[in-house]
């Protein structure tokens, strides 16, 4: 009898790997799928379920389904990759210094001077006294009677 190539198993593996790859390439761009990767986890779960049921078929009915050896090897690799992903997302991502010494609510922010992207030196005090807040709008500033503010965003550089 012709043995099935076990599509269910392979679709499951492909789906799992696609789920892992699509997170940093696609879903990471949208906060709703980035902050807690629920969609990626759903796709991984679906992929692993399909793959596992395919591998089970290969072991229970090897006369009808291929994949005992290949399924075991690819299965082990996939589980390792999924494990690595989960480790990155739920552990490594949270290894951030506590920054207890950062300016807290109510404290005065220390002034500083840093170059902007055109090479000009910019101080925090000049930003606070100038006629724009976070947007470039000349309607705010001390002369207009409205109170300006600065939103300071520290990011890592490349993302």
């Amino acid at each position: 009898m012709k043995r099935s190539w076990n599509p269910r198993m392979w679709i499951g593996f492909v789906l799992s790997v696609a789920a892992l790859v699509s997170y940093p390439t696609v879903f990471v761009r949208y906060p709703i799928t980035r902050d807690f990767p629920w969609l990626t986890l759903v796709l991984i779960a679906l992929g692993l379920f399909l793959a596992a049921s395919g591998v089970a078929l290969a072991f229970r009915r090897p006369e009808a389904y291929r994949g005992k050896i290949s399924g075991s090897i690819v299965g082990a690799l996939t589980v390792l990759l999924v494990g690595f992903f989960l480790f990155e997302i739920f552990f490594v991502s949270r290894q951030i210094p506590a920054s207890h010494g950062a300016p807290q609510v109510g404290e005065t922010a220390p002034d500083f001077m840093l170059p902007d992207s055109k090479g000009n030196d910019v101080t925090l005090s000049s930003l606070l006294n100038s006629s724009f807040s976070t947007d470039d709008q000349p309607e705010t500033g001390p002369a207009s009677g409205k109170t300006a503010a600065v939103v300071l965003v520290f990011y890592r550089g490349y993302w």
């Binding site: 920054s99 609510v105 992207s117 055109k118 109170t147 300006a148 600065v150 990011y155 550089g157 490349y158």
Partner: protein
């Protein structure tokens, strides 16, 4: 960490109107205790992600120190900080 030239390219292509500053020596990052030792791609010290709202008098009014590198303050959250009853700061349009 991006050079000022890279930041200017980002500003121009994305159409940002706000200034992007460069702290190449981690000077402000250290002073504000925001260093993430070896957090950068080549093991360089970078800043841990953080957002601060500072009013015109220089006082810090709102701080967001994320517990997870991937999770940053969304624009709506920052705007909501302006709207808190104790704030009395003009919300930017």
């Amino acid at each position: 960490m991006d050079t000022p030239e890279q930041s200017e390219h980002l500003r121009a292509t994305a159409g940002y109107t706000f200034p992007i500053l460069s702290d190449a020596q981690d000077e402000v990052i250290r002073r504000w205790d925001l260093v993430h030792p070896h957090g950068g791609v080549d093991g360089a010290d970078v800043a841990r992600p953080a957002e601060f709202l500072i009013d015109a008098s220089g006082k810090v009014r709102w701080v967001n120190l994320t517990a997870d590198i991937r999770v940053r303050a969304r624009p709506e959250q920052v705007l909501q900080a302006f709207d808190a009853p104790s704030m009395s700061i003009q919300r930017p349009e």
